[in-house]
């Protein structure tokens, strides 16, 4: 019985005692899912277990699946192993998974952030012995400004473009970032338009949170209608013909990667706003400390560097290879 409670294998994070996987990346029988992003909620599992609010999102992505929903803090037991979901603050519905067996407690964070964004249920510290944490932004170079300041910056940018009669195109991932941006855009500046992918996802999220009205950009939308207004689009729309029709426009991207000058220039966007749905350096270190964990396993991100630093701080820390897409600082594959 020296098997660790959770192990990493080629399919995902495996709990042998319960025969379930957490966020598996290959099709399995039983999958417990942290949140709706495509690198965590994948296609092809026989049974999905997730927090209630993720169900419509995952169904929208994957079609009809066999899924059961749980509440926050609701304990469900599989072959003696107790599981429960706790808010991760990453996007709407995002959860950490707490796993307990014979008094030993593990927590898998999925993706998380410590700042309360006002749309996800805020991150909650869960005490544990072993903590499996993402570290997408696990470098001391990443320190976020408060959301309110960044949103002021974004609204000022929009207002400037509005004054110059240009369309503002703001890129953000269609699940999570897009709704977070929407929520805090200032509708007194102009109208908020959305790319179809974002409109579809937003309509699903609307049943759970209050968001300002949006207009879908369609083939009938005239570029004159858009002037001075803002369009929220997924990063993959950058450089597409869809967007070129909106001339004159200015582009902006909201992402943690925008902290690096090089990243913004490489994407050739006019403005970069540093706004992330992941923990910054301080957020990671503080939450690890707060869990009381002795053992830390770092998954996607700057995991080698981050775990080495944790070892110097006295943690029993190591890295594990996963297929979560932490380091995709890429136009088409933004931080998930």
């Amino acid at each position: 019985m020296n098997q660790p409670l959770l192990q990493f294998n080629d399919k995902g994070i495996y709990c042998q005692q319960a025969d379930v996987y957490l966020d598996p990346w290959r099709p399995v029988k039983n999958a417990i899912i942290t949140h709706g992003h495509s690198d965590h909620a994948r296609w092809g599992h026989q049974n999905y277990i997730t927090h209630y609010s993720n169900i419509p999102i995952i169904k929208h992505r994957l079609g009809e699946i066999n899924v059961s929903g749980k509440n926050w803090n609701e304990t469900f037991t599989i072959n003696g192993v107790k599981f429960s979901f706790h808010p991760a603050g990453h996007i709407i519905g995002s959860a950490q998974i707490r796993v307990e067996y014979k008094g030993e407690i593990w927590v898998f964070t999925g993706d998380y952030k410590t700042e309360d964004d006002g749309i996800s249920v805020p991150y909650e510290v869960v005490k544990c012995h072993s903590f499996i944490t993402e570290c997408t932004f696990g470098l001391p170079a990443f320190k976020w400004e408060p959301q309110a300041d960044v949103m002021t910056e974004i609204n000022n940018w929009w207002a400037e473009n509005h004054a110059e009669g240009k369309t503002s195109v703001l890129f953000g991932y269609s699940l999570g970032k897009a709704q977070r941006l929407l929520k805090y855009l200032d509708p007194s500046i102009g109208q908020i338009y959305t790319h179809g992918a974002i409109e579809n996802m937003t309509n699903i999220v609307r049943s759970m949170i209050d968001l300002p009205p949006t207009i879908r950009v369609t083939s009938e939308t005239k570029k004159e209608d858009l002037l001075g207004n803002i369009v929220i689009a997924p990063p993959s729309a950058h450089g597409s013909t869809w967007i070129r029709k909106m001339t004159p426009f200015v582009t902006g991207t909201a992402s943690g990667w925008m902290a690096f000058r090089g990243a913004r220039r490489r994407r050739a966007v006019d403005r970069g706003f540093v706004l992330s749905d992941h923990c910054d350096w301080t957020g990671l270190l503080e939450s690890i400390k707060a869990t009381g964990a002795e053992k830390v396993i770092c998954t996607h991100g700057y995991s080698d560097i981050f775990s080495r630093y944790l070892r110097e701080l006295g943690y029993d820390a190591r890295t594990a290879n996963t297929q979560y897409e932490g380091e995709t600082n890429d136009v088409n594959n933004d931080e998930l």
């Binding site: 470098l139 001391p140 170079a141 990443f142 320190k143 990667w257 902290a259 690096f260 000058r261 090089g262 990243a263 913004r264 220039r265 490489r266 050739a268 006019d270 403005r271 970069g272 700057y302 560097i305 080495r308 630093y309 110097e312 380091e327 600082n329 890429d330």
Partner: protein, 533 residues
């Protein structure tokens, strides 16, 4: 400083030339005269000497960041820019600073003479008093140039708009050896002056590469042609019994080439020659690589002078008998230059005429171009006979027509993260070719580094491959499973003792990704050596 930091931020965050020029024009309209002088100086790479070495900078920044030094170094490798890393890891406080750009620069100049503890105190206080972007700009003023994609030409254009002074006149005023700490804006930009024009070079006229075939240039009779030399573009000024040699980078390099002192007395005062500095060993033009021993050195030793003598190949005359003759037609200037050379016959000075060749059809030109490697040139220059000597890179009158690069298929073996805009991708590659070792086994031997030539999409694919096929990590460098083959192009090639492969290549760059080739199909060092003519 706030305005300057804001300016740099705007320049840095736009890819549009018009936005950059507008931002700079507005800045010039509002800035104080002394800040304007410093801004011009910094944007034209006239930074004060570095007052602190980067080791100490890292150490002191790291102390404020309160992280282990290795973590700082790792962050630096990923961020790709030292000043940016320092600005990012140091915490932002509620403090602020109202000092002007000029005040900061004067302090930075004064800092050089201070003790280490005073330097540390100064830097740490200021780092904590500035916001993130100001902190970045402040540190950049100390460490190096801003790579913000703003050429001297665009800076001059903005200044021209703000001050309502002709762009070419400004370009001339901004050239040469002026000190931002002592010159005033009035003296630099506004005053008409003659006395200190003694060392001033004229802005260089630069050629564009020819588009398509030379037939498109029209009648061959309207054109003059010569070989294009592969050395250092230079301007040699003889005025008032003194010589000044400028390189194209607007660097005064007179002291690096003492052999040119012999021009004084042989070439009359009031002469300015446009030409190329070339290595000239055993009465033959050498490879650009030979010049390396002359470029980096402050003090030129007798042995270097003996081993790597240089000459200037003259191709144009800009000033004659004290008159600026740039507006004369090229043909007329050339005639004057050739006349000057007739007076130099029999004089042992390291100055040669870049000979023009005669041709009557474009066919002749094409044939001459094929002799380029043999002539030790990198192709041809075509100049319109009636053209004036223009300022900067302008299309129409001067064209360069380089020969096709030499190429070889090589294997990707090491990779490093790029810098600046590519800091998050592995884009700096090392390539290897096959060689037989003493046991008669074929092994891959490094021969060149290259970091340009692929599209952004290709770089992402290679980056992805590297991350998945890393063998070992050495700090920022990764060794990679040899699998990908690329066609590498380069301009020149020479034997070299400094290179593991025994060969040095000039301007290596990636021409294309050879998806169709396996590593076994890549070329060998032997193949490369066979290219040395």
């Amino acid at each position: 400083m706030k305005n300057f930091a804001e300016l740099i931020k705007t320049l840095d965050s736009s890819n549009k030339t018009s936005v950059k020029v507008d931002a700079l024009t507005n800045y010039f309209l509002k800035a104080s005269d002394e800040d304007k002088v410093w801004t011009i100086a910094i944007l034209s790479h006239r930074r004060p000497p570095r007052p602190v070495n980067t080791t100490l900078l890292r150490l002191w920044a790291n102390e404020l960041a309160n992280i282990p030094l290795w973590l700082f170094e790792e962050s630096y490798h990923i961020v790709g820019d030292l000043a940016e890393t320092i600005a990012l890891v140091i915490p932002t406080t509620k403090e602020h600073s109202d000092k002007s750009l000029t005040e900061f620069l004067q302090e930075i100049i004064a800092l050089k003479k201070k003790t280490d503890s005073e330097k540390k105190e100064y830097l740490q206080t200021n780092w904590l008093n500035l916001n993130y972007y100001e902190r970045f700009v402040f540190t950049k003023l100390i460490t190096g140039s801003f790579r913000i994609g703003l050429s001297q030409k665009l800076m001059t254009r903005a200044l021209s708009k703000a001050e309502n002074i002709d762009e070419d006149t400004l370009a001339y005023k901004l050239m040469g050896d002026w000190n931002p700490n002592t010159i005033t804006f009035q003296e630099l930009i506004l005053d008409e002056r003659n006395s200190d024009y003694l060392s001033k070079p004229y802005p260089f006229y630069l050629a564009y590469p020819i588009e398509g075939e030379p037939e498109s240039l029209g009648n061959p009779e309207d054109w003059s042609a010569e070989h294009k030399w592969d050395g250092i573009r230079s301007q040699t000024i003889i005025r008032d019994n003194e010589i000044y040699v400028w390189s194209r980078g607007e660097e005064l390099v007179t002291d690096k080439y003492p052999e040119f002192q012999s021009f004084i007395g042989n070439i009359p005062d009031g002469t300015v020659i446009d030409g190329e500095i070339l290595p000239f060993i055993d009465n033959q033009i050498g490879a650009f690589n030979d010049l390396q021993t002359r470029i980096g050195r402050k003090n030129v030793s007798a042995s270097v002078l003996k081993n790597t003598p240089v000459i200037i190949k003259a191709y144009d005359l800009l000033e004659w008998q004290g008159n600026d003759i740039r507006n004369l037609p090229y043909e007329k200037r050339r005639t004057l230059l050739e006349e000057l050379f007739t007076t130099l016959i029999g004089k042992e000075i390291p100055l040669q005429l870049s000979e023009r060749f005669t041709f009557s059809t474009w066919e002749d030109v094409i044939n001459e171009r094929m002799k380029s490697r043999e002539m030790k040139s990198e192709g041809l220059m075509l100049k319109r006979k009636d053209s004036p000597y223009l300022v900067g890179r302008k299309k129409g009158d001067w064209w360069k027509w380089k020969i096709e690069p030499l190429t070889i298929d090589a294997v990707l073996t090491y990779a490093m993260r790029g810098h600046g805009r590519r800091s998050n991708l592995f884009t700096d590659y090392t390539f290897a070719l096959w060689q037989e070792n003493e046991n008669n086994e074929r092994e891959l031997v490094t021969f060149a580094k290259a970091y340009s030539g692929l599209t952004d999409a290709e770089f992402r694919m290679v980056d992805d491959f590297i991350k998945k096929n890393t063998l070992e990590r050495f700090g920022p460098v990764r060794s990679v499973t040899p699998k990908l083959v690329f066609e590498i192009g380069f301009e020149g090639i020479a034997l070299s003792k400094r290179h593991k492969s025994g060969v040095a290549t000039r301007f290596p760059r990636i021409l294309r990704w050879r998806h169709d080739k396996k590593i076994e199909d890549a070329n060998s060092i032997e193949d490369l050596k066979n290219m040395i003519s």
